[in-house]
Symmetry: C2
Subunit: 201 residues, 2 copies
């Protein structure tokens, strides 16, 4: 049973990755605007219908990590021991840390391609803004669910800070990647996290 589930999860990851690579290839070769979902699906060897089970819009296929990230933020453990807001924020930052490590090595080259694409396609930047809103909403929802005692405004602020932390990490990593001097994404994340503490601590 577990083995079956593993197999399913593995297949899902493989399909995600196929769609992602097909989308990147096409976005790079012919631009975002000229690329259709149908073209991406065809190149990935799936139907358009299957595509939409993985990504709501074509732009989403450029960022395959987003779905996993949202899932991990939505599962963060927040017990009553996380007594102050700083501890609540830390729990989400730890989840980001893990998510970035999981994205890991095999995707590194892909990240560089995404950074290049972002630099060339301003419309994708707009899409990244919408991702921030998703991250923020996921954090807020998780706090509301696991810690209903936390004030709504405070939950909203934690969500906004987590989204900002994620954004700063990838902006910076992207800039470094374009300059051909990008290190480990997780190191960039940890630097950014330390800078947030310096700014607001």
């Amino acid at each position: 049973m577990d083995a079956d589930l593993d197999l399913l999860a593995r297949r899902r990851l493989e399909t995600t990755s196929q769609i992602h690579r097909a989308a990147l290839d096409l976005f790079e070769a012919q631009g975002l605007r000229e690329t259709t979902v149908q073209q991406i699906a065809q190149r990935a060897g799936i139907s358009s219908r299957t595509f939409f089970r993985y990504f709501p819009v074509k732009e989403g296929a450029a960022f395959p990590v987003q779905g996993r990230l949202l899932a991990s933020l939505g599962a963060v453990a927040l017990d009553a021991d996380a007594s102050d807001l700083g501890a609540v924020l830390s729990a989400f930052a730890d989840a980001l840390d893990s998510a970035i490590q999981d994205a890991g090595d095999p995707d590194r080259h892909e990240h560089r391609r995404i950074a290049q694409l972002l630099a060339r396609e301003p419309e994708l930047e707009t899409y990244v803004g919408a991702q921030d809103a998703e991250i923020s909403a996921a954090v807020r929802a998780r706090i509301g669910e696991a810690r209903p005692d936390v004030d709504g405004l405070d939950a909203q602020v934690v969500g906004a800070v987590v989204a900002a932390l994620w954004r700063v990490t990838w902006d910076r990593w992207g800039a470094e990647a374009l300059a051909e001097r990008a290190g480990e994404p997780v190191d960039v994340f940890r630097d950014a996290r330390a800078a947030f503490s310096r700014t607001l601590g």
Copy 2:
């Protein structure tokens, strides 16, 4: 000479406001997608060419405060006395506080219309995401200019936090406005600012 400049600035503000009201009227009546720059310009009694001197795209006309906000963030005084990052952040937060107060009473009704429009037109949300990036970039540029001693990553983080603070304020004010219980925007801002301190202090 000063009187002439005042007159120019006043005219500019009046034109901004005319364009904004025309855009809101049309977005409300026929939707964002169906509304063209030409229609907005015509309703505001100007040429399309003049429109583009005020706003880069039609969506921008829904948010007339953005230009003033960016200008005020770009002019923040940052002397060497602002010795830690918290003080740098405070200087920008003070500028937001003033900008929100300046937007003041006459615009309150407009803000409610914008909140309603945002709830109805998801595409505008995406545009709001792009505004966050503009705010963040303006803060970063100002720090680079006035305080070249501040580390680049730290400047980026201050920018991200200022943008997040602005976003939380308007999200919250918008939600309150839709529920017909919105108070002073500046009060919402100050609550949000306090929540940021609680989260990260």
